[in-house]
Amino acid sequence: MKQTLQLFTKALFGSMRDLLPIVLVIAFFQIIVLQQTPENLPQIFTGLLFVVLGLTFFIFGLEQGLFPIGESMAHAFASKGSVFWLLTFGFSLGFGTTIAEPALIAVADEAAQVAAEAGLIELSEHAMESYASGLRITVALSVGFAIALGVLRIILNWSLQYIIMIGYVMVIVMTGFAPDEIIGIAYDSGGVTTSTITVPLVTALGIGLASSIGGRNPMLDGFGLIAFASLFPIIFVLGYGMIF
C-alpha cells in the first residue's frame, strides 16, 4: 500500500513537471509580453487540473499494470526464437499502443474538425468520427508494420540508415502525388504516434531482442524502432490521402 502511494505521488509529480514549463512560458507571455489576462481563466485552471490528474492516472496505470507485463512479454518473445510470433507480436504491440495513444486521439479529432470546416468532408458528427477513426487506424496499422519491419531488421541485421533513406525517398515521391490537404497531417502523424505508451514498450522489445541475439550491440541494434515508427505513418497517411 505504501509503495503504491509512493508510485502514485511519483506519477503526480512527473505529470506536474511535464506541465510546468508550458505553464511558465505561457504565464510569462501573458503577463510580460501581451499584458492580458485570459478571459476564461477558471475554465483553463480546471482543465489543467484534469490534465494533471489524467496524466497521473495514465502513467500510474501504465507503470503498475501494463509496462511490467508488456516488458516481460517482449522478453519472452525475444528469447522464444520463433520469428513468426515475434513479428506478429511486434505488429500487435505497435497497433495496440498507437490506437490508445491520447495525443493521437486528440490530433485526429482536431484534423477531422478542420477537414469538416474546410468542406473536405461532411460537417456532421458521423462523418467527422469516421474520418478521425480512419486516420487513427491507418496510423496504427503503419506503426504495427513499422515495428514488425524493425524487428525483422534486428534479426536479419539490415542497415538502419538504408531503410530510412528508402523511406525518405518514398515520402518525397508520394508527396508529389498526394492531395495538398493531407500532406501536413501526414508529416505530423509521424511525431504524434510515438509518445507515452509506445516508446517504453517498443524500446524494451528492441533492446531485449538485441541482447538475446548473439553478437549484437544493443546501442546500435536496439534503437531505431522508434525511427521506423515515426517514418512509416507518414508514408501510410500519404497513401490513405491518395486513395480517399
Partner: protein
C-alpha cells in the same frame, strides 16, 4: 449534469480505445505464451487507471490545452498587438511576427529539456560512448533542435510556404550527415526525433499551428495549419548528429594537439609524456 454526460460518453469511447491492448495482452498470454499472468489483479487495476487517466486527460485537453494554444496564437497575431511591437512599416511582413517565433522556441526548449524519456536516453548514450557524448550536451542539442524546429515551422505558417520544401531539404541534410557521423549516434539520432514530442506537447503545438493558420491573413487551417510537429521531430535528428560530429571534432583536435606535443617533447630528447 451535462458534464457527467460528457464524462460518461468519453469514458465509453476510451474503453474502446484501450480494448486492443487488452485483447493483445490476454490473447498472446493465453494462446502463445500459455502461462498464467502474474499479478493479474495489478494488471487489471492498472488498465482501469489507464482508462480513467486517458478520459480525464482528453477532458482537460479540450478545456485547457487546446484553447490555450489557440488563444496564444490569436493574441500574438492580433493586429492591435502587432501594431505596438512591429518592426517594419506599411504592410505586415514576416518579421513583425517575431513574438510568435520566440514563443514557439520557448515552448519547444522548455518542454524538451525536462522530458524524462530524453534524460534516460541521454544517460544511456553517455554510458555507451564512454563519456564522449555528454548527458547535458545531448539534452541541449535535442532541445535546441525542437525549439528551432517549432520556430521555423511557425515562420513557415506565417509565410505560407509549402512544407514539403523544408522537409525535403531536412531529409537531404540528414542523409548527408548520416555518412559523416559517428556510427553509434545514428540510430539514437533517428530515434530522438520521435521521442521528444510528448503527450502534453503535441496537442498544444497542434493547436498553436491551427490557431496561427486561422488568424494570419491568407492562410488556411487545412493546408497550412499542420506541420509543426513534423518540424519538431525532424530538426532534433539534425541537431543531435551535429552535436556528435562537433564532439568528435573536438576530441580529434585534442588528440592531435596531444600528439604534436609528444612529438616536440620527443625531439627535445625527453621522454614522451603519457
Amino acid at each position: 449534469m451535462q458534464f457527467l454526460d460528457e464524462l460518461f460518453s468519453l469514458l465509453l469511447a476510451t474503453s474502446f480505445d484501450i480494448l486492443p491492448i487488452a485483447v493483445i495482452i490476454f490473447g498472446f498470454q493465453f494462446l502463445v505464451i500459455r502461462k498464467r499472468i502474474r499479478n493479474l489483479k495489478k494488471v487489471l487495476t492498472g488498465m482501469l487507471y489507464v482508462l480513467i487517466g486517458i478520459t480525464f486527460f482528453l477532458l482537460g485537453l479540450e478545456q485547457a490545452l487546446f484553447p490555450i494554444g489557440r488563444s496564444m496564437a490569436e493574441q500574438l497575431t492580433n493586429p492591435e498587438f502587432l501594431q505596438t511591437v512591429r518592426l517594419t512599416t506599411g504592410e505586415l511582413h514576416w518579421q513583425d511576427y517575431y513574438w510568435v517565433y520566440i514563443f514557439a522556441f520557448a515552448i519547444g526548449a522548455g518542454t524538451t529539456i525536462a522530458e524524462p524519456a530524453l534524460i534516460a536516453v541521454a544517460m544511456k548514450a553517455n554510458e555507451v560512448s564512454a563519456g564522449a557524448i555528454g548527458v547535458w550536451g545531448l539534452r541541449i542539442a535535442v532541445a535546441i533542435g525542437v525549439a528551432f524546429g517549432l520556430a521555423l515551422g511557425s515562420y513557415r505558417i506565417v509565410e505560407g510556404i509549402p512544407m514539403h520544401y523544408f522537409i525535403i531539404v531536412g531529409y537531404v541534410i540528414v542523409v548527408i550527415q548520416t555518412f559523416f557521423s559517428p556510427k553509434l549516434i545514428v540510430p539514437l539520432a533517428y530515434d530522438s526525433g520521435g521521442v521528444t514530442t510528448s503527450t502534453v506537447t503535441v496537442p498544444l503545438v497542434a493547436a498553436l499551428g491551427l490557431g496561427l493558420a486561422e488568424t494570419v491573413p491568407g492562410r488556411s487551417a487545412l493546408i497550412d495549419g499542420f506541420g509543426l510537429i513534423a518540424f519538431a521531430s525532424l530538426c532534433p535528428i539534425i541537431s543531435v548528429m551535429a552535436y556528435a560530429q562537433l564532439s568528435e571534432l573536438k576530441d580529434a583536435r585534442t588528440l592531435k594537439k596531444q600528439l604534436n606535443e609528444d612529438y616536440y617533447v620527443n625531439r627535445a630528447g625527453n621522454k614522451p609524456k603519457k
